[in-house]
């Protein structure tokens, strides 16, 4: 059983090929690139909005991409419960499209941050983090100039109460500190999920930490979790216990 991934390509996207390579070659799933001008996603299981500089970050990062023709279908897909993963510029597009709350502002340092960071998994119950444990520290690279997550106090409280903060920047030992925060994000937030749990946005690049040849593979856990969540959804349990995991052969998890 191979999942169907669709990686949307906007003018200026530059992490589309990495996302495609990881899903097709490393994870052995079906994966295709979709040009932003297409009006329909077609038959797809997971949509990835990749990193890059769509529309040159003109006006605001992701502000113009959210109006690309394909986005109507992406929003509809998400509203129907479809799985959407927004990485870096993809996260920016998701917040501009209103599929995730908050905004991504210019890094407080004003510098483009390009380095490996540590992320603490705050919620391992999501379909993007089921292969992790709460408190796990993942080492994944960032490369962004506008990753400073911000929202109003009421929304922040709601995100915390609902477990919608999925990743926070942390030290190697998992402590959340200012020095571990590469961009000034509110509450060290690196990734959030919507209330329904089907749309995740994250600033770091898991697709750059999935190939063992590159030396880091923590990012793969996110993709493995997504794949696993489909197996869980398509398998019936006698006990109905959500935490029981059933592995199907040949899926590569």
């Amino acid at each position: 059983m191979k999942l169907k991934f669709a990686v949307v390509v906007f003018p200026g996207s530059n992490c589309d090929h990495d996302a495609h390579y990881v899903t097709e070659t490393i994870l052995d799933q079906q994966s295709r690139l979709i040009w932003h001008k297409e009006s329909s996603l077609g038959d797809v299981d997971v949509v990835i909005l990749p990193g890059g500089f769509s529309y040159g970050d003109y006006l605001r990062c992701g502000a113009l991409a959210r109006f690309s023709p394909i986005m109507k279908d992406v929003v509809q897909f998400a509203e129907n419960g479809g799985v959407v993963l927004g990485i870096c510029n993809g996260f920016q597009i998701l917040v501009e499209a209103g599929l995730l709350p908050g905004v991504l502002l210019r890094n407080s340092s004003l510098k483009f941050a390009c380095k490996y960071v540590r992320l603490r998994v705050e919620n391992a119950e999501t379909r993007f983090t089921s292969r992790c444990k709460k408190g796990d520290v993942l080492e994944i690279p960032i490369a962004h100039g506008d990753g400073n997550y911000f929202t109003d106090p009421e929304t922040l409280k709601r995100l915390e109460e609902n477990g919608q903060i999925v990743f926070r920047y942390c030290e190697r030992d998992g402590r959340i500190t200012e020095s571990a925060n590469p961009n000034g994000s509110l509450s060290n937030i690196a990734g959030v999920i919507n209330e329904r749990g089907n749309v995740l946005g994250m600033m770091p690049h898991p697709e750059r930490a999935s190939d063992p040849v590159l030396g880091h593979t923590d990012g793969r856990k996110i993709f493995d979790s997504i794949i696993e969540s489909f197996i869980l959804a398509r398998t019936t349990f006698s006990s109905g216990h959500q935490s029981q995991l059933v592995r199907k052969e040949g899926v590569g998890v």
Binding site: F67, V103, L105, R106, N107, L110, F150, D152
Partner: protein, 84 residues
């Protein structure tokens, strides 16, 4: 024909590191009396409709939907008739 001028500014509650950096630059020039530098955007456009009311409505909607992100920005605009 109408000409709209729109100012998009950061909300007061949003930290503006760009503004801070520019403020330091202003101070380096010797103008230490300058405080609270904040940076916004200026957009101008022509709106080809028959009435000013229509031009204002379009300007407001374009500002709300695209030019300003309401989570972090406010906007203000003027609309003037221009000679054809």
């Amino acid at each position: 024909m109408f000409h709209s001028k729109i100012l998009v500014t950061l909300k007061r509650s949003i930290l503006d590191p760009q503004g801070k950096a520019v403020e330091h630059g202003v101070h380096s020039l010797g103008y230490v009396s300058v405080k609270n530098v904040r940076i916004g955007k200026y957009v101008e456009m022509d709106v080809d409709v028959p009435t000013k009311g229509e031009a204002e409505r379009i300007t407001r909607e374009v500002s709300q939907k695209l030019l300003a992100n309401p989570v972090m920005e406010d906007f203000a605009f003027t609309v003037e008739e221009v000679g054809s």
